[in-house]
């Protein structure tokens, strides 16, 4: 029982202090339960929460005065106070008599403190329910005794299950309107158990009640004497909900790197699971680098140890690279580090989810571009059946495969609600468009922990999901080299490849500004292009070089700079007559008039490649067709 305060007489300071200290000591004993209420329109959710606040004395007299006035203006229950008006906060809601956004309420009893998420029942507002469920330990599913189990009841129970809620209260409300009938209650309870049996709930407690009159909310009712279970409050006070996060392996997502001066480098974050002590070995999840916890820093002094839920700053014994989005973890039980995984996804946006589209994926501290590579199936939330689908609409749920640009550190959501969750963000509007719960990693990704790696060519290439290569386009001026290279680069880029095009124009204006058109200069020109290509290949890029490069020797020199298979010669073979007739820049005309010296094909030779990897005879073929050919060639040989 909570301390009772004297309300008469004038207590002394000592008495006040003693009373308050006793009260605070009691508060410290209380555990916290976060729950949400869900159900369909008019089931009486807001009334139930108003009733909980009212019965636990959280409603103040001045709020009651406002309530009395508002009840006359908007009330739906005649002369009584409309308890729902206490919690329906926004004007639009009060006018329409519905709850349109999730709201959080606070109350406490002598045993527990409660945070309630009041979530809307309207079908189109499912995203708000998922929001409330993401932080809840328990869900109260309201059912109107007159209407029984509805499609929304199933939907909400399914979402609660999907978001990892393991404790359900089935509140059969408005039991007064069915004459407090046990038969009605039993039928609804049986219906509920029948469809919820596969949803993985640990406890399902059905309670008949009338939120409006308070029956079985905090007090028992004679009219429901046939019911021998707990009241709602009794159940909420006693249901065990500890997720045991502290007993799980250490997961410390690095949120913020603190570097106030040269002598201090700390990693701030909230421990997602497990515990950590001074001297504990840890590894950096993404790099696999090991270290030891040197200090656990807080403003209240260093801690010997800390556990799940605490916000601390860790100092490591070694100077190793760790940035936001990485995770410090237990060396023996590591999380998965992968770029591809399967997840359940709830879609929140008006614009449907499209496989292949790029979104930003965000976990508690990490962020990376990601796309859905496959929609495996959609889940019918009424029958829970799996259906084939091409996209997910607003409020739909599906199972998808995702691919991220950077490796992600995670645990399956079923094992850890903190490290297994993510949201998807639209890159253009910044709207939060979906929420995901990771099931497991895919393919090579799973259970292969990243060993400490040097950053080198294979590592960079791996990061970009491609084999770096130089695509060397050679051919006469006007043969179509740049046109084909441009289209190819556009396509590769759209595909998420990392590319760069080098051509005469962008090099002649800068790097090669000092070179003229003597033979010596032309050789130097090609040497520089070759060297730049080599650096870009080392950086992991696909490099498209578009140069006339008429001499076999020069092309051989460029080829020799990179490794075998990193140089692909593309001969854009267009006859002189065709090029001279096209003459897009008017150069042939000038050369033929003798105004340009050393012009390839006119007064300087072009040496055709002897055995190019790709030989495009352009006459009669479209640019698209030839670009296709190059793409196919690259795919067949595993470059892309």
């Amino acid at each position: 029982m909570d301390t009772q305060f004297q309300t008469s007489g004038t207590p002394s300071r000592e008495e006040i202090s003693a009373e308050v200290q006793a009260f605070l000591a009691e508060q410290e004993q209380k555990t916290l339960l976060r729950f949400l209420t869900c159900g369909s329109v008019d089931d009486g959710k807001s009334t139930l929460i108003g009733r909980l606040l009212f019965d636990t004395k959280l409603i103040y007299e001045d709020q009651l005065a406002v309530l009395e006035r508002d009840s006359r203006k908007h009330g739906t229950v005649g002369d009584d106070f409309d308890l729902a008006l206490l919690v329906d906060g926004l004007e639009a809601e009060r006018e329409q008599g519905i709850t349109i956004d999730v709201a959080y309420r606070f109350f406490s009893t002598p045993k527990r403190k409660f945070i309630v998420a009041d979530t809307p029942g309207h079908e189109q507002y499912t995203r708000n329910m998922a929001t409330g469920a993401s932080t809840a330990d328990l869900a109260i599913v309201l059912i109107d005794a007159r209407r029984g189990v509805l499609p929304q009841t199933r939907r909400h129970s399914f979402i609660a299950s999907l978001l990892g809620i393991r404790n359900i209260v089935v509140a059969v409300n408005k039991i007064d309107l069915v004459d407090h009938s046990q038969k009605v209650f039993d039928t609804i309870t049986a219906d509920y158990h029948a469809f919820a049996k596969d949803l993985g709930f640990e406890s399902v407690q059905a309670i008949p009640m009338s939120a409006r009159f308070g029956d079985n909310v905090s007090t028992r009712s004679n009219k429901l004497a046939w019911f021998d279970g707990p009241t709602l409050i009794e159940h909420l006070e006693s249901v065990p909900v500890d997720e045991g996060l502290a007993e799980k392996p250490l997961r410390f997502p690095v949120q913020y790197v603190s570097r106030p001066n040269l002598d201090f480098r700390g990693f701030s974050g909230t421990i997602a699971s497990g515990r950590v002590s001074q001297g504990d070995p840890i590894v950096v999840a993404k790099s696999g680098k090991p270290s030891t916890v040197a200090r656990i820093v807080t403003q209240d002094g260093d801690l010997a140890s800390a556990s799940a839920g605490q916000a601390v700053t860790l100092v490591l014994a070694d100077e190793i690279e760790v940035s936001r989005g990485n995770m410090l973890v237990a060396p023996d039980t590591r999380p998965e580090v992968a770029e591809q995984f399967e997840a359940s996804l709830v879609w929140f946006d008006e614009k449907p989810m499209m496989p292949g589209r790029s979104y930003l994926l965000r976990t508690e501290t990490d962020q990376t571009p990601a796309s859905i590579t496959a929609l495996k199936h959609r889940v019918d939330v009424n029958s829970f059946a799996h259906e084939a689908a091409n996209s997910l609409d607003l409020n739909e749920v599906g199972v998808v495969n995702l691919s991220t640009q950077e490796p992600l550190v995670f645990d399956p959501y079923a094992q850890n609600r903190v490290t297994g969750a993510f949201v998807l963000i639209d890159r253009l509007t910044n709207a939060t468009v979906g929420a995901g719960m990771i099931n497991h990693g895919l393919r090579r990704a799973s259970n292969v922990h990243w060993q400490s790696l040097d950053v080198n060519k294979p590592a960079r290439a791996e990061q970009k999901h491609q084999k770096p290569v130089v695509l060397w386009f050679t051919g006469l001026s006007g043969s179509g080299k740049s046109t084909i290279a441009n289209l190819l680069e556009k396509r590769l880029f759209a595909d998420g490849r990392h590319t760069y095009t080098l051509d005469g124009d962008n090099l002649r204006h800068g790097l090669n500004r000092d070179l003229g058109f003597t033979e010596e200069s032309r050789v130097e020109n090609i040497r520089r292009v070759g060297e730049v290509s080599k650096l870009m290949v080392d950086a992991g890029l696909i490099v498209l070089v578009s140069f006339i490069s008429p001499f076999i020797a020069e092309r051989r020199m460029a080829r020799a700079l990179v490794e075998e298979h990193e140089f692909v010669e593309v001969f854009v073979d267009t006859p002189f007559e065709v090029c001279a007739a096209r003459d897009p820049k008017g150069l042939y005309a000038k050369a033929l008039r003798g105004e340009i010296k050393n012009f390839t094909g006119v007064d300087s030779p072009y040496e055709p490649p002897e055995s190019p990897e790709i030989h495009l005879q352009t006459v009669g073929r479209s640019v698209e067709d030839m670009t296709d050919e190059i793409e196919d060639w690259l795919k067949q040989r595993g470059y892309i």
Partner: protein, 299 residues
């Protein structure tokens, strides 16, 4: 070792402070000098220890704050060494805007709402911390912890981003901003309990003392300076009073109380039968008034 309720709230708030520092380029904390701001300041110091909070503290001075608030503010900035920015709507000051002459609505709009918007625009802050709590008022119960504001700094309650787990969508476009409420999930009792537990300094106005007050419009208004003139029939009395909430002195009612210790205040809160914002004039006109102000950019 399981955490107490206050430890959990503290950890949540620290997490939010760090998240903003890690993801925004120019955050600011709105420092109103009240008890919630004192708690916020304390949490911000904890979140970045041993570093100082990596953002400035902005006080929007309506020109009608209690004198003791200003003195306390300057003292805290001096002691803790944080970067304090004070902003006033100077046009309003020049025009002599005040609650006595312009009424509470016009004063609040010009000297608080507009001044705040002006200050945020002037400095180009992309995230602003506020000390609002969900238990304070009905429309606040529905606001997110990371609350999106469009380029006009307006709040659209029907188009809020879903806030899942502790994963916050901190992405904004040019000109847009986010208001962040790290103590959203605290109740008034939690705030007092925390102040007591941590020994957090607060403005002395919260403690009962003999103060010169006038009964006006159902409230006890303290005559804080000469700008307040007595109306016919009004009497200035020395009464033992304290304030449950602080703001502009002409708009903030005192309550009669003998609670002159933190424990006394906590005890009084526990037996209180009147909710906190009752002492503030701005919520009274109609019950949706806070929501209207928020849509316009009020904190």
């Amino acid at each position: 070792m399981s955490m107490t309720h206050l430890q959990r709230l503290e950890a949540e708030a620290i997490h939010i402070f760090r998240e903003v520092a890690a993801t925004f380029t120019k955050p600011v904390m709105l420092y109103s000098v009240g008890k919630d701001s004192s708690v916020m300041l304390h949490l911000a110091m904890k979140a970045f220890y041993p570093a100082k909070p990596p953002f400035p503290f902005l006080h929007v001075d309506s020109h009608w704050k209690f004198g003791e608030m200003i003195a306390f503010r300057d003292q805290m900035a001096e002691e803790l060494g944080f970067d304090l920015i004070v902003h006033k709507n100077m046009e309003g000051v020049r025009d002599g805007v005040g609650p006595f002459t312009h009424g509470s609505n016009a004063h609040t709009h010009l000297m608080k709402t507009m001044a705040l918007r002006e200050a945020l625009d002037l400095h180009g802050f992309d995230a602003a911390f506020g000390g609002a709590r969900r238990d304070e008022e009905k429309s606040r119960a529905k606001e997110r912890i990371f609350s999106f504001r469009n380029a006009q700094q307006a709040w659209d309650p029907k188009n809020q981003r879903p806030e899942m787990w502790k994963i916050f969508n901190t992405r904004i476009a040019q000109g847009e901003s986010i208001r962040v409420f790290p103590i959203s999930n605290w109740t008034e009792l939690d705030v007092w309990q925390y102040i007591l537990q941590e020994g957090i300094p607060i403005v002395p106005l919260y403690f009962a003392a003999k103060r010169p007050v006038v009964a006006r419009d159902g409230m006890l208004i303290m005559k804080d300076d000469d700008r307040m003139e007595l109306r016919d029939g009004e009497v200035l009395e020395e009464r033992l009073v304290r304030f449950r909430t602080l703001g502009c002195y002409p708009l903030t009612g005192a309550v009669e109380s003998s609670a002159d210790t933190l424990e006394g205040i906590v005890r009084e809160t526990l037996v209180a039968r009147t909710s906190e914002r009752e002492g503030r004039a701005i919520d009274h006109d109609e019950s949706g008034s806070m929501e209207k102000k928020k849509r316009e950019g009020y904190f």
